[in-house]
Assembly symmetry: C3
Homo-oligomer: 345 residues x 3
Amino acid sequence: MTHPAIHEFTLAELAERLGANLVGDGSQRIRGLATLREAGPDQVAFVANRSYLKDLSDTRAGAVLLQPEHATVCPVTRLELPNPYLGYAQLSQLFDPILATPRGGIHPAAVVADDVALGERVEIGPNAVVEAGVELGDEVVIGAGCFIGAGARIGAGSRLHPNVTVCHGVAVGERVILHSGCVIGGDGFGFAHDGSRWHKIAQLGSVILGDDVEVGSCSSIDRGALDDTVIGNDVKIDSQVQIAHNVRIGDHTALAGCVGIAGSTRVGRNCMLGGGVGLAGHLTICDGVQVTGMSLVTNSIHEPGVYSSGTGAMSNAQWRKNAVRFKQLDDFARRLARLEKRDQG
Amino acid sequence: MTHPAIHEFTLAELAERLGANLVGDGSQRIRGLATLREAGPDQVAFVANRSYLKDLSDTRAGAVLLQPEHATVCPVTRLELPNPYLGYAQLSQLFDPILATPRGGIHPAAVVADDVALGERVEIGPNAVVEAGVELGDEVVIGAGCFIGAGARIGAGSRLHPNVTVCHGVAVGERVILHSGCVIGGDGFGFAHDGSRWHKIAQLGSVILGDDVEVGSCSSIDRGALDDTVIGNDVKIDSQVQIAHNVRIGDHTALAGCVGIAGSTRVGRNCMLGGGVGLAGHLTICDGVQVTGMSLVTNSIHEPGVYSSGTGAMSNAQWRKNAVRFKQLDDFARRLARLEKRDQG
Amino acid sequence: MTHPAIHEFTLAELAERLGANLVGDGSQRIRGLATLREAGPDQVAFVANRSYLKDLSDTRAGAVLLQPEHATVCPVTRLELPNPYLGYAQLSQLFDPILATPRGGIHPAAVVADDVALGERVEIGPNAVVEAGVELGDEVVIGAGCFIGAGARIGAGSRLHPNVTVCHGVAVGERVILHSGCVIGGDGFGFAHDGSRWHKIAQLGSVILGDDVEVGSCSSIDRGALDDTVIGNDVKIDSQVQIAHNVRIGDHTALAGCVGIAGSTRVGRNCMLGGGVGLAGHLTICDGVQVTGMSLVTNSIHEPGVYSSGTGAMSNAQWRKNAVRFKQLDDFARRLARLEKRDQG
């Protein structure tokens, strides 16, 4: 997509924002970011790691973010800083057209209860519904078609993209980003069985999202049964993730797409769960755990480190031969032990 | 979350509703439920199973739901009944603020076709859209932003939370609960290939949901190709579940989060599928089957019982060593057999 | 579901549309499609493959689509053609009540920016929001409650079912079908870590959907970080699918329900991914690859063919015995090799 440039900055301005060391012409005007290969003279590129150095000598970028030790092979103006990928993240914010769009105030087609507490410069989009007793902090943006249930609170600087649902009583921190289609505070899955049928357990807890949380498109975080479901500060949640009732997730943890976490499990701080990972219920995962994609975790983890399960894909012919043997593993173990015993006997 | 108490009940009133044996002061006023550890004097707690007995002697709850055999260690008023967890479920309904909210009638910002058949005391929220020919039973609640397609029917006492989509012609039973973001009756995935490209097969069937069904946030149930997709009575479906076209699910079956069921599969009555379970298409799963989390079922199941697949997570170092051997299993089997033959030869 | 018949056609008319050889009475009026078993005299059935031939001799259908070689056992009027399943797909379009519903124009409760470029015969449903700079091609249908962000383009003949979200700048091809609850163009999952916390990388790319794409209910396709996420022509995507930023998918590829594709992976043309398949990031999957349900792909695939991973479900008792051995596989391998060496020594 080619966006119209929303803002322009000189390289000198960008260097100052990043605290980077500018080597070259600071007057060049920059209108966006691109990869080393694609960038033109009005765009900044970056060298995130050594594997990109091969593209550096041919770049036509207006400037390149890089570490000082890579400066010698850079043919254009450079912005030297210790963490170029972080610099890229910081600059990217300047060129996001969503962030550059002026605030729209409260759209006449929004339905906002009389007693809603509105901070300064709040935007509420068309057809959004904000129920009684809601509190919206300063500079909150509620996208078109969002629903904010009775008594919910959204902290300052948070942005709800269109068609987000925040159920009654949910508490959202500051600078939180909720993407379209996500649902925060739907009922947890709780029923009592009477021997013949299910009886619903009303989900009387809520969801608490810390500051700087992000939740991806179509993800769901269910409300607690009695206590709350609690997501820490700076937790990043990708699309299509399901977090069940009474889960607690520690600060700075990141969950990739399609992760599912069952009820009452606690995940520590600074964890990373790969795409499609499943955590069973009532587990405790300590700080600093990484789980690789599509692994199933059925026991608590008490040591930081990387964890995995499953097997990678192979040709179906090869797989058929081997997968059928899985059912024979216990038999193999016994036969192997017997042979060893006779061998030693 | 601390909700304002919506209702208060005396312990005597609660005992009568549950048919429980009250031992202690029935005049105490109760404003909610909590765990044994958290409950205060205006809250009721419960002993769901023996593992909670350790918290019983220190509880400050106003009363505790428990089985008569646990009465001796209870320091506070007790409500004795055979299934305390069921009692908790029943009481929880009394304290749900959503259920206690007075009905709002038809909001002026709802868009309701002229010929919609409305039962008594129906609520339709702001920005909901109800198309022509829809029938809404008594006490149906349609949340803000919901869409009800032409000719759909919603049975008495059902509640659609905000931003639910029910497509044209879908039939929803009585006392059904649909959570935000779920989609009932989107097209099944059907195409014919002409050797070079796909041709869409219009999905001319519908979805039928029985009575007392619950569907979680962001779940989808696709409409049938020619016949209908049919969900039985008292089927409970968690969040992020996908049910493909022409699936049939028997009464009282429960599906945990992220389950996926492929087309035309039939699941029996009183089954339980754990989180992330996948069922291939065109299978028959008999009554009374439980499948543990993230298992893949590729064959029909004809015997009740518990079924599993996959392997649990281990440290990545350990996993790397072992997972690579999976491709050698058939080779192992042959080598093991050869050794045994020579050993016996 | 029994829809009121929207259209009627004579068998002669249907034969002409399909280019089929009509053998029997062409004046019979047809009001729909059904299976061989269920069809009545005003419905057409079909024999998709030999396994259905057993139902042919008893059918009461008004006519049957079949290959000429199956004509001898057909007791009713027949429509002979080389690919009956394709014929069924083509006829199914004629009986879809959604397609037969007259266009509604722009509903007064839609919120449409002044500068939107509208093609001929565009329909925009109630409570839809169409932002500034959007272009809608001829005969585009935007369902109730949809959101179309600033600068997005929707090609001619495309249909967005209710409650779809298309974010700013997204480009949708012609004749595309987007089902309810799907989100096209939410942010990709990109953050830089500064050693203690995450910094968001604004997702400045977009999503490009080719012509004839279909996206199922509650699926999400994330926008690119710098470049775009690109979905080719005639790509068919089922419900609950997650496609991460900068993924590229070739023409005619089909993704079944609950598939997840991680960032920057490229999938070729004419591929088929089964339900729940996961592709790791930064892979290349060549043309003509099929992956069976719930497989995990962690390496690029350079040869067309069928690929699989995992193991199917078995009884939990059997599974427990065998799954525990998975952690011993490397040990088995070493012990087996030692025995062989001694055996040969």
